[in-house]
């Protein structure tokens, strides 16, 4: 039985640059962190892997520097890692990303459980997990808050819905996207760091996946960013001048006009 956890590097701050040519995001090694939601997916994978004796594998698509984040996952109890890195993968939208990850999962011989963060904090789309499930033909549950009763053929999960919490039995293989704080995380110990350093980490290119260049990266992306702009200014705006007391008095008048 095999668990694959998909992770993504995101900018650690709001300092994001756009390539003026392609208008896609420029990813740099500096200030890069693991997407916060993915840390919980890694924690779940490590926990379920050690509880059930399943093989665990971390997978990411990104620039070569993402190796560092995968190494960190290996220090957090993951057995093996694969980085998909190639110029041809660059500029992928969510479909092309899901398709690339799915090719890698298939090359690994498939998975019983695929774990992802609920969404990435840079794109905020929450699409790649469900799209990956479809590319693989697996079941999917999003926004999972708890995973329990794991067997070889199904898992029991709880997840957020619009009106509350739902508990479901999901047939494997399945993709689960996990919510924040759904699993406790901890800092790796010295022993964990030593273990992680000795674990295998491979890099695969588009050729290694046997990928069709028309179905990966920017070329394989159904969507395209045509322009980026700063949001339009609002109508007339007025500024309240004066001392703090005067500002408060003017503001009170405005409030009284609306709330009365």
């Amino acid at each position: 039985m095999r668990i694959v956890v998909c992770v993504k590097q995101v900018p650690g701050t709001n300092q994001v640059y756009l390539d003026p040519e392609t208008r896609s995001i420029v990813r740099e090694a500096r200030h890069a962190v693991l997407n916060p939601y993915d840390t919980f997916a890694v924690a779940w994978a490590a926990r379920l892997g050690s509880q059930h004796g399943w093989e665990t594998l971390a997978l990411s698509m990104g620039i070569p520097a993402v190796e560092k984040l995968l190494r960190d996952s290996l220090c957090r109890g993951i057995d093996r890692a694969v980085l998909l890195t190639d110029r041809l993968f660059a500029g992928a939208d969510t479909w092309a990303t899901a398709n690339t990850l799915a090719m890698a999962v298939r090359k690994l011989g498939g998975a019983d459980l695929v774990l992802c963060g609920k969404m990435a904090i840079d794109g905020d789309t929450a699409q790649t997990g469900p799209e990956l499930a479809e590319c693989l033909g697996y079941a999917v549950v999003t926004d999972v808050t708890d995973i329990k009763e794991v067997s070889r053929s199904q898992v029991q999960v709880s997840r957020h819905t619009e009106s509350g919490v739902q508990t479901l039995l999901v047939r494997l293989p399945a993709v689960l996207t996990v919510a924040k704080d759904s699993c406790p995380t901890r800092m790796p110990s010295i022993a964990d760091l030593a273990r992680g350093a000795s674990r295998p980490l491979e890099c695969w290119s588009a050729a290694d996946l046997g990928a069709d260049p028309d179905r990966i990266g920017q070329r394989g992306s159904p969507t395209r960013v045509v322009c980026t702009e700063t949001p339009p200014m609002k109508k007339q705006s007025r500024r309240l001048e004066g001392t703090l007391e005067q500002q408060a008095a003017s503001l009170e008048c405005i409030i009284r006009e609306i709330v009365s």
Binding site: M119, V141, G164, V226, E229
Partner: protein, 346 residues
């Protein structure tokens, strides 16, 4: 602008009519309103897609809000909108009818089912659009969403794949005025073979929080509030005005406030009569959530803060002493019976 029939699947504009036990969600009407405006320019029909059982009043409401056709699949197996069979049905209908555009509300359900359908039929999907338009030159759907953590809006197109799919959060688009004289037709469709790999064991319905989404008055706080204890001032002002407290994402990330209070692209979209934003700089993801506020008052120490571009009333001031002053003044007046005695009632 007519539909370019040379494009693969240059059919109509589709809107998913999501419902909760037969009660159609407001976001479906909001999407229909915009689809109707776009369709009138493209000279295309608008169809509402309705899986499961909804009564005649619901169907009539969809037509009054702009649908020319209502595609229904009244299979009881679809009544609770289970995700697996709904993905089967919607993918099947898309392949059969080849719509040009398919819009889905960015609810929990929509955010799961829309990417599944998009991937299954192999097309593009843009999440959480704040504006939808038609490019007069190409006839393509222009899907605009906040992007990249900066003060940017990205406009995205799906050039060669169909349908052009987008999700829009509830409350972002205005609900259209319903025209009960509109005529439309009901088109029952047969479901394809449906699969379900998910079995529901239990469903816990939590009482809806006193949600900020429906609040008429919101006082919201960002990093400029400086400390968690100052949130008490924000709450006091909200209480005095009979409103709710909202926050920006950093405060939720720091654990100062529950995620249910968060306004913005990853939080709630709000549409109050009055929103007082205290110490919020105005990252575009936050702005995306408050576009429907009728009156926005922004208080910030930085006269260049981006939020001022969107504010009706700008107050360059430290929000903490200003809030303290306001709460003091309003409390005094309330004791005199001057303000808010009605508004402050629950």
């Amino acid at each position: 602008m007519s539909c370019d029939t040379a494009l693969p699947g240059a059919g109509g504009l589709w809107v998913l009519a999501e419902h909760d036990q037969g009660r159609i969600l407001p976001v479906a009407f909001e999407l229909l309103g915009r689809a109707r405006q776009l369709a009138d320019r493209m000279i295309c029909p608008v169809a509402a897609i309705l899986p499961g059982t909804v009564d005649q009043a619901g169907v009539s409401a969809l037509i009054a809000a702009g649908a020319d056709e209502v595609l229904t699949c009244a299979d009881p197996a679809l009544d609770n909108l289970p995700e697996d069979p709904c993905t089967d049905l919607l993918s099947h209908l898309v392949r059969q009818y080849e719509p040009a555009v398919f819009l889905i509300g960015a609810t929990h359900w929509g955010r799961t089912v829309a990417p599944r359908v998009a991937a299954r039929v192999h097309t593009g999907l843009t999440a959480d659009c704040t504006m939808l338009d038609i490019d007069p030159k190409t006839g393509l759907l222009l899907q605009t969403r906040p992007a990249f953590g900066g003060n940017l809006l990205a406009t995205i197109v799906t050039e060669r794949h169909r349908p052009q799919m987008a999700t829009v959060r509830p409350g972002v688009l205005p609900e259209p005025v319903r025209d009960t004289s509109r005529r439309g037709r009901l088109l029952p469709v047969e479901p394809p073979p449906l699969t379900n790999r998910l079995a529901e064991l239990s469903r816990l319905v939590l009482p809806p929080e006193q949600g900020i989404a429906a609040a008429r008055v919101i006082v919201s706080a960002g990093r400029g509030i400086m400390s968690q204890k100052n949130l008490a001032l924000v709450r006091s002002l909200a209480d005095l005005l009979g409103g709710q407290m909202g926050v920006s994402r950093p405060l939720v990330d720091m654990g100062w406030a529950p995620v249910g209070c968060q306004i913005g692209q990853t939080g709630q979209s709000v549409a109050p009569d009055l929103l007082i934003a205290c110490g919020i700089s105005g990252a575009i993801q936050h702005i995306a959530g408050l576009g429907q506020a009728r009156m926005l008052v922004a208080i910030n120490t930085d006269p260049e803060a981006p939020i001022f571009q969107f504010a009706d009333v700008q107050v360059v001031a430290d929000c903490v002493p200003l809030l303290r002053q306001l709460v003091r003044d309003l409390s005094a007046r309330r004791k005199d019976g001057g303000l808010g005695s009605e508004a402050a009632a629950p």
